[in-house]
Symmetry: C2
């Protein structure tokens, strides 16, 4: 009995061990699959990892070899630290962190030396008290400043490093000439680390925050366009249950895509912030109007909210009046598809950075279809129709009209962008909101060289919906870049 | 002439200086006002700044005084560094960073020693090569792991510190016994710094991420409730232009409040993540169902999208049919106000952590009002009405019906929360979705002590809309906390 129990126990133990091994194997396989998916989704992630590895290895070796090690001293490790902390996915983020770190270290170091000098005037007993008070005041004030939206958006990391360096220098207990030596070492190592990061980040397969923002804006608009182009067909399709279920399963994705635009605010804002740190790259100039992308993004989101409300009527089980549907089906489908085409044209204009005027006919068509819809509604006689049965269709029609209004605003703001960013084929001095009707044919296009002096009037953001502006959203890009040089 | 020009120049210079002084004075005043506003908005920001100042001063003094300084050596500065980097606004964030930092330093230190030992086997020439390869591999793999949503959400900072410490130890060039000394010093100083932060963060006016999430959820629901309660009156009000403009200006804010719920996803997710690191506090147990708040938040947001679409019909200039409006005004106002009351009751149930059943009558009333509306619509004869004139009202009615559906889902998920979090007056083993109709009066409430074993069935998140799940949103709280101890 006992032996049997023992054997069973042993067998149980081995079985348990085997189970563990098997489950950890499946887990490993899962992790590997996950990793593969991550890499396939965005190969830049793999490249970024390799870049960090490269930068860190370079700096580590730099630090490891004695001749360099001796000249830099222990502070060589600051170079390693800088690389690890400063190297971010996008060039803009890396630049922002490096510059913040370098600048803050300099200012805080100088202030720290000053604080020490000041404290030393108070004698051996007074010194720690004065230093303590100074550290307390500075840390408190700086920490509080990090709550200011503007500072949080652009200089958060700088303030952190400022507090850090000031405290370290002020209480280090070194004498001034020692400190200056130390500061020189630290600054030069930070420079080496930061420069390595910046160089690798810019010159080895760079990931530009600005380009990301540009692509993200385009992608969100394209998704909206897909939805709108397909919506009419999907909503008004005949309910042949058997067939439609089968063939609709694979192409339903276009009905969900727009959802990614609903929550894009945070990402867009941080990308725009990082983009404003970036030098000119590819098709983007140094002061590319990144702020305008945020405006377009907000309007796209506004559209997406309406679409979200409208999408709850797709596949609704409510009985609808066939007579009424027949009357509005055509204009509604037209509105939806023309709006979709307009948004698509606008997205492609941004993508290729060309004149977005090719969207204008579609905008006009959509507006004409709205008129048609209104006429159809006006003419509809409802003598024998149950009102309840027209409600879903009427709602969809009404929301479509709102979407056209939204889409017009998107179009306006894309036209603004095309003017601000000097898209190809755009006359730079025509205010895009009041289009060419008056000027067409009479205005002379100003050559590109003069275009920089042209002031483009833009109605302020009144058309952008007031969104949740708590946090670091407002006026992120107002700051001048000069300070950080 | 020259003198006059000179004088003018001087005057100009002084005027310029004076202007500068004045403008910098106005700027300073502005900054001060801004700071005052920040402090008044949330006095916890001031308290947090003072807490950081306190922690840093304590640690700096600790580091400054020689007896301590001698025993800790240069690594005392790691304590200062830890305080600056780790002290965050909420307890959860501080805990998360401290634990990540401590744990990562330990593991990476051990691995670093191992790497060094391994490399030393390859002789003087092979050593740097092997070390370089190891650093490269580890940095690359770790950086890549930071893209995994789960790791990014909870262990991002830990991985960063892991890379940092490993590189520093591996290439430090110290011998093993020196390293163990160094590691001991570094770990103990990090412990001192981390512990100071944690203690001050928890015991001096703590800011709990969990409580913040709880309050934010309540606040967003209350804002929705305000909108819904006021919407009927606002939308159907008689257009007495002169009067209404005056008295409506001051109470229009309730029409905008809901917008803060539109973009709350990111904040909610990071708060829920930090909350899961927090110990029990106040009314919240250790494993409070923070994830359920995200579900409620997503449904609240869904409601807010519908409200956003509906709000474009307030103050629309379109002529409406008075006859039709008369018929639907009452049920619509009822739906809106009862939904508002229901959401308010749900919000207050979460706020006070009591049984949310008090919302049920309002939910039922709202549903009854939907029925009434449908009857009214059914009965409405439209013989002489222009269809175009009923469209806005019909759309509002239709969206209100959708809002009731949404609100029902919110109510369900609040009931779920009340069961999961053992709200006062909730029978813990009744599945909240299939309410008491069958059981009422026959079931015996299980005493609180046993309640932990009760399994509560919850329909999975199918009712939550698929949102933009790119990034660190999915399954944040699945991870067990045990690993980080």
């Amino acid at each position: 009995m006992e032996i049997a129990a023992e054997t069973q126990k042993k067998a149980g133990f081995f079985a348990y061990g085997w189970d563990c091994l098997k489950s950890s194997k499946t887990k490993l396989v899962q992790v590997a699959k996950n990793a593969q998916k991550q890499g396939q989704d965005d190969p830049r992630k793999i490249i970024h990892s390799l870049k960090v590895g490269l930068a860190l290895t370079l700096i580590s070796m730099f630090y490891y070899f004695r001749p360099l090690y001796d000249s830099f001293g222990v502070s060589g490790m600051w170079a390693v630290l800088t690389v690890v902390v400063v190297f971010e996915f996008t060039v803009g983020a890396t630049l922002s962190k490096s510059l913040n770190r370098g600048f803050a270290t300099m200012v805080a170091g100088a202030l720290g030396v000053g604080a020490q000098e000041l404290a030393s005037l108070f004698g051996e007993e007074g010194e720690p008290v004065v230093l303590g008070i100074l550290v307390f005041l500075l840390a408190t004030a700086s920490t509080f400043s990090r709550f200011f939206p503007r500072i949080k958006a652009r200089y958060d990391y700088g303030v952190l490093i400022f507090i850090l360096t000031f405290s370290l220098v002020a209480v280090s207990g070194y004498r001034v000439n020692e400190i200056i030596d130390l500061a020189h070492q630290r600054l030069s190592t930070i420079l080496v680390g930061g420069a390595t990061c910046i160089i690798i980040s810019i010159f080895v397969c760079p990931v530009w925050a600005g380009e990301d923002l540009h692509n993200m804006t385009v992608r969100n608009m394209e998704k909206l366009a897909h939805f709108l182009e397909g919506f009419g067909g999907e909503y008004f399709k005949e309910p042949f249950d058997g067939e439609s279920v089968v063939d609709s399963k694979d192409d339903k994705s276009f009905l969900q895509g727009y959802k990614s635009a609903l929550n894009s605010k945070g990402t867009e804002e941080s990308l725009a912030n990082f983009a404003s740190w970036e030098p000119c790259h590819g098709r983007f100039r140094f002061r590319h109007p990144w702020k305008q992308y945020l405006k377009i993004g907000a309007l796209t989101r506004q559209c997406a909210y309406h679409i979200e409300a409208m999408s709850s009527y797709i596949n609704s089980k409510i009985q609808v009046s066939a007579e009424f549907r027949m009357k509005i089906q055509e204009p509604c489908t037209k509105i939806s598809s023309e709006s979709g085409k307009a948004v698509k044209a606008l997205a492609s204009a941004i993508k290729t950075m060309t004149d977005p005027s090719s969207a204008d006919p579609h905008v006009e068509n959509a507006k004409a279809a709205v008129k048609d819809l209104e006429i159809a509604l006006n003419a509809a006689s409802l003598d024998e129709t149950d009102l309840l049965e027209i409600i879903p269709d009427a709602t969809v029609a009404s929301i479509l009209i709102e979407i056209v209004k939204c889409m017009e605003k998107v179009s306006e703001s894309v036209h603004e962008l095309s003017g601000l960013a000097h898209f190809k084929g755009v006359e730079p001095n025509v205010t895009p909101e009041k289009p060419q009707l008056l000027h067409r044919g009479t205005i002379k296009p100003i050559p590109d060289g003069d275009a920089t002096d042209v002031i483009i009037t833009i109605d302020e953001v009144s058309s952008v919906p007031p969104e949740n502006d708590k946090g670091p959203s407002k006026g992120k890009q107002d700051e001048s870049r000069v300070n950080m040089g």
